[in-house]
Symmetry: C2
Subunit: 338 residues, 2 copies
């Protein structure tokens, strides 16, 4: 089973993100996960992936704030830092809960693996990045960032707008100017994940009964350059889609996406909105096409589930962290199956 | 075989530490390591550990510079970030060199593991920290840090001077005031490593032929608290001593410490200074007691080698990165054996 954890499993929106706060949230999450492991059979396997948005956001702020003293690292390297950070917090906390649970659980090892995910250098996202990150800006603030940091505002799509290794951002107007005084945000390419680079080693660990934490933050995005070498790129991979590639790599039967809502919804945001308990692959594809799911939010989660079932997975579930045990028992969440 | 890499394998003293500079140095290092793997038999195993001083130093500067915007993370968490960062750079670069080498080497997997190392909460270093880190300060600068950041100057040894989770530092006068206008430095506890926490999973990976990078920066230092749970502490473990614990965990026969000099020296710094090519365990212990090796520099390296041979290792070697192949052939370095 692969569990994909959302950002709320680590940092809540109303928190600054101190180590204490994050460890407290991670602790709540790990308690739920250990509850799940308790109910598993001895031969069932579990692996975990997680988001890193707030952590990378804070690291970027710190890197920029310290830039007059020490060089900020490239975006892919900052992603790798967040894998170390979050991996450590989950690894230690899970080890503690497993040990406290005693018996068979006390001897289950947990490790986090630094993990790259392959994307294509020809992914259209590199020509027209769509993933917004961080704060909203006014036009004036956006121009200020353009002048002081070399950010690019609203470049025309269709040309390769940036060096794939660049450290500066593109800023785009993401909402109409009438609807907000701050309609601009930084955007980064969010290319489609092709393959989990360390998937082979991760599978071997999982097969041995190790709880593996990997593909953090969607993995460190890398391309194969002309010489065939891996090279980090300036991008953020959707963590659920990358998690799905990890689920393939470890040959998981179940793929659980835990988020802050209990279900995917039909007619999301409309008065007719209603939760989906169960959908076949065909229904899921139909609903996705019909636009029931929010782009950049529930949309990619459903897409990742569809991909998992198409690949050969038995069941994909979207649920909330609090109801993970119920979801596995079929009493909660949105279930997608062949 | 376990290889312990020094800081110069990642960032040179005259560099600011950009991603490009670090990747260039890592590349030079990985070329040497792949040269070594080429000469190994198919059943020989290799694992790597590394320092993290400059990277943690830069991360601390950035965390402090951004503290007015986002909360700095605890010291152990910053260490975990550096494991992600350095692990990623080595992992990707080694993968690229192995692939380019072709044949058997092209299929050798490489992974970095987030890795904790257990220390004792009763280690005397927590009462009297000795490891200096970062810049030198004048008395006035030290007092400024005391007033603005709550650092403690020259606390009397013998009392538990700080909460093991604290984020503030102790400052100590490390050289006589007559010999430098800036005789103060921050110091952190450097407790003795007891055990590599993830050693079991790391050994299984190594046994399967995976090149594992772990115990980075001496590992993330953790204690077992009263409930038996792991808990990060404010400390830095010597990376060679922690590397030795990792060598034990993977049951290595050889332990290579690669540094910026070719040999350990007798009468270091004196006119009679001369390199040691070979020493027995007894000779190594005698030379160490006689004070031939610099404390905080060659001293802990020789101590780590002594510990490795006593544990049952066949051979420990201290050498330079450039001469690693010669060192393995017995034509370079300082060899310690039973």
């Amino acid at each position: 089973m692969l569990i994909a954890l959302g950002g709320n499993a680590i940092k809540r929106a109303n928190e600054a993100g101190t180590t204490e706060e994050q460890l407290r949230n991670v602790s709540i999450t790990c308690e739920q996960i250990v509850g799940l492991i308790k109910r598993q059979g001895e031969d069932d396997r579990i692996a975990i992936t997680h988001g890193n948005g707030p952590q990378v956001g804070n690291l970027l702020v710190q890197q920029e704030a310290g830039a007059y003293l020490v060089p900020p690292q490239a975006f892919d390297v900052v992603g790798s830092m967040s894998q170390g950070q979050i991996g450590y917090m989950f690894q230690q906390t899970l080890q503690n809960y497993l040990r406290a649970a005693g018996g068979r659980l006390a001897s289950i090892p947990v490790v986090s693996v630094v993990n790259q995910v392959l994307v294509s250098p020809d992914d259209p996202e590199f020509l027209d990045p769509t993933k917004p990150i961080g704060n909203f800006f006014s036009r004036e603030e956006a121009e200020g960032l353009m002048n002081t940091k070399g950010y690019v505002i609203d470049p025309p799509a269709g040309r390769e707008y940036l060096d794939k290794k660049r450290t500066g951002f593109v800023i785009k107007q993401v909402v109409p100017a009438e609807s907000s005084p701050k309609p601009y945000r930084r955007v980064v390419p969010s290319p489609d994940p092709i393959e989990n680079v360390e998937g082979g080693a991760i599978k071997r660990l999982v097969d041995m009964g190790v709880v593996v934490i990997a593909s953090g933050g969607g993995g460190i995005p890398v391309i194969r350059n002309e010489e065939g070498s891996l090279e980090g790129v300036f991008a953020v991979i959707d963590k659920d889609k990358a998690g799905e590639r990890m689920a393939e790599a470890i040959e998981a039967t179940h793929f659980l996406i835990l988020t802050d809502v209990e279900n995917a919804m039909l007619d999301y945001g409309k008065p007719t909105q209603r939760p989906i308990n169960d959908m076949s692959l065909e229904e899921a594809e139909m609903y996705l096409t019909e636009g029931h799911f929010l782009r950049g939010s529930m949309g990619p989660k459903v897409e990742a589930c569809i991909r998992f079932i198409k690949w050969g997975g038995e069941r994909a579930i979207i649920s909330s962290l609090e109801r993970v045990v119920d979801a596995m028992d079929g009493r909660a969440g949105t279930h997608i199956h062949p």
